[in-house]
Symmetry: none
Subunit: 75 residues, 5 copies
């Protein structure tokens, strides 16, 4: 296998990482919504934690997307 | 393996990432529905969080779909 | 491996993504049914959220199916 | 397969590690948010544990990202 | 495949191990935070157990990182 083929397969594999990160983000919002529906009055107070947690989790998925784009267009 | 073959396999592998993202989106709605059925009166107040969480989770799956389409048609 | 063989393997791999998406859809309906059986009176009020969540989760599986069909017939 | 191709596939595989780390980070914040919404008064007292746990979990994902970047640009 | 290529793919695979270890670390802190928010008065008494559990779990991820670095630079 030469490099021009390998980077295409590598980009496809990197897409698995994006999907896995989506499980993390989905779980994060799932538990927040579950808790917020049990105690709606406190939902606003925890929104900063929600946004911070979402940002750092999504970042890992974006990194995987970045690796895929680097493989497709930059390497 | 040459590049014309590798991009077809890579696109197939990227489809795994879409499926994994669907687990995240499904979990998100699952917990929301579970909570909304326990406390229906609060469901409307949490809909913005639901939509925001859905959008960012689905985005990671769409990114994987984008990688598959790039592999199939753009590279 | 030449391209005519690779697209057949790629289509098979893409089917993994469909199966993973089914986990997401199944979880979604599972939690809805669990909640609806605990509080049947509220089930109708949450049906729009159920249908919306199901549609966007199923869409990711349909995208994987689309990639498989593109690999089989369009590329 | 020669080394210039192998490092591109290796970078793609390393992206799976990032996605898996995102599941860990997402679970961590998910349980914190769930607990904080049940007992908002105690949320601030546990924030140092949250940040410490997040940092060491995210670090493992960053290490995987580092391996991907090393494979892409440094080896 | 020759050895110079195999070690690069091996390093990428080792990064999957880091991500899996991150799931373990994240779950560990997730359950600690969940319990600490339910009973904040006892959280300090369990911190040594938290740190010990974190250290041995993180160590396995660090070992995977070490294997990746050994594959990249030492072998």
């Amino acid at each position: 296998m030469d490099a021009s083929a390998a980077k295409l397969i590598g980009a496809g594999i990197a897409a698995i990482g994006m999907g896995l990160a989506a499980i993390g983000v989905g779980t994060l919002f799932a538990f927040f919504l579950s808790g917020a529906l049990r105690n709606p009055a406190a939902a606003d107070s925890q929104r900063p934690n929600l946004i911070f947690g979402f940002a750092v989790t999504e970042a890992l998925g974006i990194f995987a997307f970045l690796v895929a784009l680097l493989l497709l267009f930059a390497v």
